[in-house]
């Protein structure tokens, strides 16, 4: 299998990480060597195997639907790179 530059550009778009040509080439080469290594899994027949989704074999516990943390507005905003009163500020989305 081979991951080409077009695929890298596609993944970079999905990942919301911008890549220039030089970085894309390096990523293609790295990802190809990693996927060569991953291809080993195809040696195994797994049609009848149940996928393991969690090693913690417990059902999720239910709890009463109660608000326990209140008035966190200030804490939530505190670390934002840009805010205005009670809002996060982002570049304009609607013209």
């Amino acid at each position: 299998m081979s991951i080409d530059l077009k695929t890298i550009k596609h993944i970079s778009k999905l990942s919301r990480i911008s890549v220039d040509e030089k970085k894309a080439e390096k990523l293609a080469s790295d990802l190809n060597s990693i996927f060569d290594f991953i291809e080993k899994l195809n040696e195994l027949k797994t049609e009848n195997v149940e996928p393991l989704t969690s090693v913690a074999e417990t059902t999720l516990k239910l709890r009463p639907d109660e608000v326990k943390s209140k008035n966190l507005r200030e804490q939530i905003i505190k670390n934002s790179p840009k805010d205005n009163e009670d809002y996060f500020v982002v570049p304009k989305v609607i013209e």
């Binding site: 991951i3 999905l14 990693i34 290594f37 899994l41 913690a56 417990t58 982002v90």
Partner: protein, 485 residues
């Protein structure tokens, strides 16, 4: 007492309880040594003056019934600490000051310990050498220009260099056990669900576990006792009866059965690792354990499985870093451009690589071929362990396929870096507990570790085996203080 920093945790606790030492004296000693050890680059954020204030306060009104009375301690910078910067080793969290505390660190402070600083680690815990940290390489106190392992490399280095008497790390694929092995210290990865993940910067949520690192097994058991708790704030935290690990610690392991998996004898493994393993088998026999050959047939598939599952979960977990709610933001022409530049400039190369792998294996058309396939193989790997544990109580393997390597030696070849975790990754995939204990030195005098893997929730048993073997091994770490001028 001039050699405070050489004391074990239990010695320090006893000396404080018997009022032979004050918390301030102990805290000051570790801070002084940390000040002289900047060259190791173990700290990302120091909190020394607050720590001294807390130590004074403790001494004014000491509660000597606590398990860690007035004991200073630095922790991996992956644990959120309220009002103290938490970076996860990343530029993207360079200015992040949590408003809340992780459950694991809260458990530690509740037992009287005092935070002295946050320790370096691979960016978002993705690495095996601490070289992916935005805050630079960490030196291994064993030798100059040697990696301390990773991702908990600042933790292992600070512990081995006696800058902190105990510490905690996190382990997603070996990030506690491998650095412990590289620095001649003890590190335990608990059963998945034993320690709360609340407030730990997430990497791969189905694999991440916090765990203790210490100079010896007894200290490690005590710290595990403190940090392990059922926590409603972590939906995969498991409510089981936790032992008083340090109180129940025993060297009597007569009749315990220990499995030796033949698949761990990998191609190209240095002879000294194989010799160490043989020695370990002899030590276990000397302790009265019965050795049984076992097979874990899917061992070779663990790393490829891990490198699908972990990046997939990471790509999802790290989607939250968008430059809006917290952390670094790069300016952009529009919203999408801002996201893309923020993530491109905020994440380092290894993190970007893993996000890309994860995004790819989860993307439309590839999910079944990669992610679903990996989950199925993960099941086979877990089944191997379940089968083995019908015959044995624990499993003994080397911790790593080599001793610590030089800084820069493996940075250009991601796959050779990943191979470091060949013996530790299967344990995370199966959610089991594993402990690395120092067991010898290679020809260069660098430490080597042995790993004992247990059944789920059987931490006490592997701690006991480690405790018994530790006495036989009688390991002495060779630290020369070369970095102190």
């Amino acid at each position: 007492m001039s050699d405070i920093t050489k004391q074990t945790l239990s010695e320090l606790v006893n000396n404080i309880k018997e009022k032979k030492l004050s918390s301030l004296e102990v805290t000051k000693a570790f801070i002084d040594r940390s000040e002289k050890s900047k060259e190791l680059n173990t700290y990302i954020t120091e909190d020394f003056s607050n720590a001294l204030d807390k130590a004074k306060k403790f001494d004014d009104n000491p509660n000597l019934d606590l398990k860690l009375p007035g004991i200073p301690m630095a922790v991996k910078d992956l644990f959120c600490t309220a009002n103290l910067r938490t970076t996860a080793g990343s530029k993207i969290l360079n200015n992040f000051i949590p408003t809340y505390e992780s459950t694991v660190t809260q458990n530690i402070w509740n037992e009287g310990a005092i935070l002295i600083g946050k320790l370096n680690c691979d960016e978002f815990a993705m690495g095996s050498s601490n070289e992916t940290s935005f805050f630079g390489n960490v030196q291994n106190p064993i030798d100059k220009n040697l990696v301390p392992g990773g991702s908990s490399g600042g933790s292992s280095s600070a512990l081995a260099a006696q800058l902190t008497p105990i510490t905690i790390g996190t382990d997603t694929g070996g990030s506690i056990r491998q650095p412990a092995s590289f620095t001649g210290t003890v590190g335990l990865k608990p059963t998945y669900g034993s320690c709360s993940r609340y407030g730990i910067v997430a990497f791969a949520s189905s694999l991440d576990q916090a765990g203790p690192m210490a100079q010896n097994v007894e200290d490690c058991a005590l710290l595990q006792e403190v940090i392990s708790s059922y926590d409603q704030k972590d939906s995969t935290s498991i409510d089981f009866k936790r032992n008083q690990y340090s109180k129940e610690l025993t060297k009597d392991i007569k009749g315990k059965t220990i499995g030796i998996p033949k698949e761990y004898r990998v191609d190209g493994m240095p002879k000294e690792i194989d010799d160490l393993w043989q020695k370990g088998i002899e030590y276990a026999k000397d302790c009265g354990a019965e050795i049984i050959d076992i097979s874990l047939p899917h061992t070779n598939y663990a790393l490829p499985t891990y490198y699908i599952v972990a990046p997939a979960e990471a790509s999802s977990n790290l989607a939250r870093y968008d430059g809006v709610k917290y952390g670094f933001r790069a300016d952009g022409e529009n919203l999408i451009d801002m996201y893309e530049k923020t993530r491109s400039e905020g994440f380092g190369a290894e993190v970007q690589r893993r996000i890309m792998i994860g995004t790819y294996v989860l993307s439309s058309g590839y999910y079944d071929a990669y992610y679903l396939k990996a989950q199925k193989v993960r099941k086979l790997i877990k089944n191997d362990f379940d089968e083995a544990y019908k015959k044995v109580d624990a499993i003994l393997t080397p911790s790593t396929p080599s001793s610590a390597f030089k800084i820069g030696e493996k940075t250009n070849d991601p796959v050779s870096m990943y191979l470091n975790d060949i013996f530790t990754v299967p344990v995370n995939l199966a959610g089991l507990p594993g402990i690395s204990i120092p067991a010898g030195h290679d020809v260069k005098g660098y430490p080597l570790g042995l790993q004992i893997i247990g059944k789920a929730f059987d931490e006490q048993n592997i701690l006991n085996i480690a405790y018994a073997m530790e006495e036989k091994i009688n390991f002495k770490n060779k630290i020369t203080d070369w970095w102190i001028k």
